[in-house]
Symmetry: D3
């Protein structure tokens, strides 16, 4: 029996995985990866302004709506498993039990690579907190003495996906991924985010401009490949290779 | 006819390519790459102390000795073409004609990747100057209006090889290359550097410790590959990929 | 009825707002701003050495003395509202209830801009913690789902005021404010800080030297304005303008 | 007679001023500023690939075509004076006489602010060289002993306009300018760049996404102003103000 | 009676003090310093893989083995006092009582200098957390109002010792210490770390290569002192001197 | 015969050595050091505004006046040798012959340490250029093949002295030097700078505030030494020590 390759996304709020790495999810799903997405919260307090502007809105109704959007988007992208931790947002907080629960997911998935937020974000402290937690739980998942007997994690790369205002976050992409062939799926997932319609075209333009960067960095005007849509990522750890 | 893959090293002084990327050269040569090495100078004034301590030494004799060392080392490594620009060192200087000569080499080689020094080096301003020249000539080689009719360069990666005191240079490797299978060749090339015998064991230890880093970053105690010798490199430009 | 403009200072210890932005407070108060100052602690444990050297001193007496100093200084500066959270210092700690209390203040004030500490301070971890809290509570104050019905915060600038050893904190001012016309008030407020008399002249000199920087950056020897006293601030967020 | 306000753009190649600050030029021209643009070169060798792909092309014909494009774009934007230094590109070089000629322009214009490239650009060393020259000539223009009798320059801000791949250049905008009302002019100027049609939509998307950043930083979902097109800039020097 | 000089090491896990500053400990002990080492945890969960691979292993047995190793190593190095806080690792956590206990140690020791980890470590969040705690408890130890009557701490330097992959941690040494004369003791202490035998030679090579750096920075080929083993450290705070 | 210790200052303009390290010069001179000062230019064009405002001023008269000021200041400070290279300023330029002349000075002096400007200065490109030259000539002075037979330089520390607006230059002091006992000499030297009287008190305040930093970093309120005047310096290279 062939073992599937796997990947893991750690998303502070329900919609982040769609805007920031929906293409990577769909592309790897299409290649046969089983992609697990953990949403630490639904973004119910801080990223659901449109819902809250409706009269009589309640926290439970917002969460239900956001969960529904996330599930529909995950389906469009071919997410293998969408895990909602429902920990609350603005601020997001994980106690040790929450972290151990995340470690369990990491170990169960044994991801070839992980995806999370930028390491700095003065606009949204939940985002940088999620990345801090990703690093901490990755470390715990590697500890032989944590739940001995479980399979420990290897050295999965942690990619930081694109934040909303890249330069303000000190985020610098070192990998561009061509997502042209799965763009329709990403756009379909984006359109599930009914509460944030003002961002649909914004992130379409991001993908188009990243495709220009893809082309430039693969050869530019002499030999660059003409991607139409791309996503950028920043690696936290060095790569190990047999050929440069 | 199959086209060989190619690579290009731009080395400020004759010995730099041996200590800093001799393993990468030998490994890619063994894989069928044609690796060209440009030595901008012989390091005759600044990196030949042992020779200068001999009575009656002259600049020409130092240069001849350094050229000889470089040629023997290049042969051990399987260098396809060793090009000595003989521009003088401490300080190294290139005028526009020298730069265009380097552009000619770049275009002729059409390297899949290039290798040069760190971008900062307060101990050795020749090193950072060589990298500045590498970036400038890479840009000129991409210009359609420079010697129209020549084949322009695509978007070759520029890797920065390991400087002598990495932390002082702000150098941070993002790639580790396993050079175990060609280590004997690198050590043989190192031993051609008779004037700098005090560094033979130093750079052997560097390669051994980088192998530990290779293993850590490829999985550590759970699944890391046990390289015995490795080299580290820092990428200047982002990569373009179809799979993370 | 005309709405006053407002500003908010978040000060880790009782005296910080005086040394670091007393001029900005007095100047904006004079312009009609209502300036609210939140002192998260009195600095009773860590910044009251002179008091603790008196025999028989108690924590309550130190806090009372520090509160009294802060109130007198606030009056000199024209502070609209001085809010003492009395959370303790060295270390300063805010639990979620404390943070929500601060969010309430932010929302009530609806500040045109906020002021707090530098983002790094190895000498005083309370300072950098206060800024982290300022960013987190600013974010919560912007969340439509936090206490729905309250007026949410817009995009107030957060200015970082001058720390004691600027270069060690990585603090870089991008705005200089001329406080010449309110200098007497700042000096009067400074002199309320009886326990830290050794800093009165230090911060007077800071203001005089920042005035030199003001003049340099407004035109220097050809056209610079000769401010006598100034304060510097670092902006966290970009500005939005209609004219450069 | 009322003195016009003035601004100065220093552009390495003929098209840079269009993509990177065409909106700022048009907007300030519309406000009555006299905006001077210095093109240090036409970008004839390195940024005219489309022309060079035509058979029988010559350097003079490329330069003429690029000059023509630049002049038409400048007219669309309302540029007061377009000064072509014709110094050659890839690489761009200025000797002391060239620099003094630029100093003469700076002094004649007496700009309220200047605009040039990012301080780092590994893809295009002409760009970072132009900024280095901008800083050096700004300094010379301030020297009372350089051509005594000429009016010396004050402390003009130097804004760095948006490079092509912002994160790779370490460029971080701290000002967003709303260019909605002059967008038609910028787009018209962009369309004068016939040799680089592949960038027309790229920079349109940049302007649209910067408008989203404008809105976020002016209040976001609670009170942000809905700009449709914007440009970002990074300030080199601190501002001097009377109100925060 | 002469007062001994003192130093304090704050080590996240039991073995860190051996690899990273064992030479500094042994050297200062030999000079008459009383060196106290605080191990915040035994590294029982995350740094004891070899033990956990044994069948039937338990947390208590791992901790006992690690404690034993640490004690034997401390004896080899001449540690004056080895204090095991036994707080657990992966993740390491200190509540306020734990921190105050550490403050008590700091005040009792009154160290001339302190040693701890790098400020960033994406591989091991325990390490950077320990340094954050070192800064926070150093600050509390300086507070006159914390346990009034105790002797407050002065301005002890905090040196950051060498992490495992220096460049990934942003660690930059500014001091090299010659440990040649105590190398035998450090190696003996290293060999007490039976569970991490794969690192014995790694850290021997580190010490040899740092000795090369020592020699280079003390004069290189003209006058450098030929240390055989050295350690590097990064200072957090500036030094105060009477001679440069 | 006992050899004197020596130091070398490389100053872009005639007055820099006074404001920025006059205390270090006077203090080391008083300790028996022979301190050589190289002024690469007189600052005649860019730093002599007051003179140029006089009617009928000429370049020669400005240079004579600046030379005279520098010589009188040097005498007050106890400078052993003041060497004026008279290379012109705004911009300062050194060709290879000028650099080799500076190398000759460095080798003749054999400084225990060197002093020059910050590595970045957007206000004054002469300053950062001087430091670049200091690093380059230091390297050449270490080359055994440059003028063989001359005594080569060892590994002198290069200290960067305080620029005018420290934070804008990215300058971070890591050493504070107590200059209290020679303050009168520094002030006397400062008062020789008749053309820049507006800076006399500015730099007096700098020295007083740096003394506060000296006290803080030598123990603060518990044990800090009460310096009255101090100077700060940033080290480029690591130190080699036998005791931390």
């Amino acid at each position: 029996m062939t073992q599937s390759k796997t990947a893991l996304v750690i998303s502070a709020h329900a919609a982040d995985f769609v805007w920031r790495c929906g293409g990577a999810i769909a592309l790897h799903a299409a290649m046969g990866y089983e992609v697990t997405v953990v949403c630490l919260s639904f973004g119910e307090r801080g990223e659901s302004a449109k819902l809250w502007k409706q009269p009589g809105m309640t926290l439970d109704r917002v969460k239900a709506a956001r969960r529904d959007e996330a599930e529909r988007a995950a389906e469009k992208l071919g997410v293998h498993d969408l895990v909602s931790f429902d920990l609350g947002d603005y601020p997001l907080r994980l106690d040790d039990e929450d972290k151990f629960r995340l470690v369990d997911v990491i170990r169960r998935v044994q991801p070839a690579f992980m995806l999370s937020h930028s390491q700095y974000d003065p606009y949204n402290t939940d985002h940088m907190y999620a990345t801090q937690v990703a690093l901490e739980t990755r470390m715990i998942a590697q500890a032989w003495g944590h739940n001995p007997g479980q399979k420990v994690l290897g050295a999965s790369q942690l990619y930081l996906f694109e934040p909303h205002q890249t330069e303000q976050m000190g985020w610098k992409p070192d990998v561009f991924l061509d997502i042209t062939e799965v763009w329709d799926r990403k756009r379909a997932a984006i359109e599930c985010m009914e509460g944030q319609e003002h961002l649909w075209d914004f992130y379409t333009r991001v993908a188009q401009n990243r495709a220009n960067h893809f082309q430039r960095n693969s050869g530019g005007q002499s030999s660059g490949r003409a991607a139409k849509y791309a996503e950028g990522f920043q690696s936290v750890f060095p790569r190990t290779v047999d050929e440069l």
